[in-house]
Symmetry: C2
Subunit: 233 residues, 2 copies
Amino acid sequence: MKNMIIASTSTVYGSDYLAYLLPEISILFKDADTVLFIPYARPSGISYDEYTRIVKNAFAKISKKVVGIHQFDNPKEALENAKAIFTGGGNTFELVNQLYKNDILSVLKKVLENGTPYLGTSAGGNICGVSMMTTNDMPIVYPPSFETLGCLPFNLNAHFIDAAQNSTHMGETRETRIKEFHVFNSTPVMGLREGSWLKVKGNSITLKGNLTARWFVPNKTPIEIESESEFAG
Amino acid sequence: MKNMIIASTSTVYGSDYLAYLLPEISILFKDADTVLFIPYARPSGISYDEYTRIVKNAFAKISKKVVGIHQFDNPKEALENAKAIFTGGGNTFELVNQLYKNDILSVLKKVLENGTPYLGTSAGGNICGVSMMTTNDMPIVYPPSFETLGCLPFNLNAHFIDAAQNSTHMGETRETRIKEFHVFNSTPVMGLREGSWLKVKGNSITLKGNLTARWFVPNKTPIEIESESEFAG
């Protein structure tokens, strides 16, 4: 039975890394002393060790140890033995690339479906969708596929942001990009704003946080979903 | 001898499609009655025919006819016979996908190196770089490769925009994204602001328009390049 928190962002403005989520994480990871951390997304290109240190500092506040998956000779075994798993944000292309290179995407999916508690923020949340095709990230590496875990029956757009009013910038808005996705794909997309997260318990998916989320399906006007709304997963 | 205009955007704020570039395009395409248009990038997912109509209307102002490459049974021959080529903006992933699917990337490169005048805006400019790995676009389709024309010895970041001051958004800035690219790649990147374009004549590349461009190489602080600066191509 899936037991996951999937958050738009690790950090809300003006707050410490993961701080706004720590009460929820304490509950999610209540039966784990140690969290297995997947640092592959490397925000700003920091090393796996540096990234793991940042995560260690955050989890120390709720008395959890953290170990990086890169410290194991056998990452599949590490996933199978983990009592809690966290995938941090950064670049989704490189994250997905490394999941394929290390051949652990299917093992990760299996342990999540079997109930290992999982936290994913930003890129680490994107991979829970059907594909990574609605990421905002730059394609800095070429992964073998865009297909991801499919623990959610839709795609996520993390850090979702509404079009700026009165902008003079001619680049596409987030909404236009998702509309373009739906010319080629039928998978629904949830635009998850910073400060929102999804709580997944078995086949139930609930929108948490104070904000609404934006829901996109092909050929329909997007709608706003209220916080505490529940979906079938 | 290459003869190209590569622009950050087709349209500057408050102006008509291509309007700010028409004087330059008149010179670039002076020997051509008809422009071959590559509509594959499909902004907002519009059809090839719709997109071609928009381009026709713009080029009518400088008395040029426009024909879409999708109207030809043999797109390779169309490229080889063209007196002028324009690739419009939209989604770079789909543009590159179609260039590979139609197997025309190498023919396009050949005719551009042989001197067929070329205009590329936004996505149509991105493909002139070494790879499409510094696009801002969403990966809505999975192209066979991220390698592009390499008519420039660097990559472009079109619609380049500086980090907003006082933003509360936690998504990566453009500069952070390019920094992440340089963790995995050594190709220099030019951040080309809206209203800037590159004029390529043989092996000379000149920055045009009123703005500076931002130049990124690995492990160095980015610098601003003045308008009218000339590079070796």
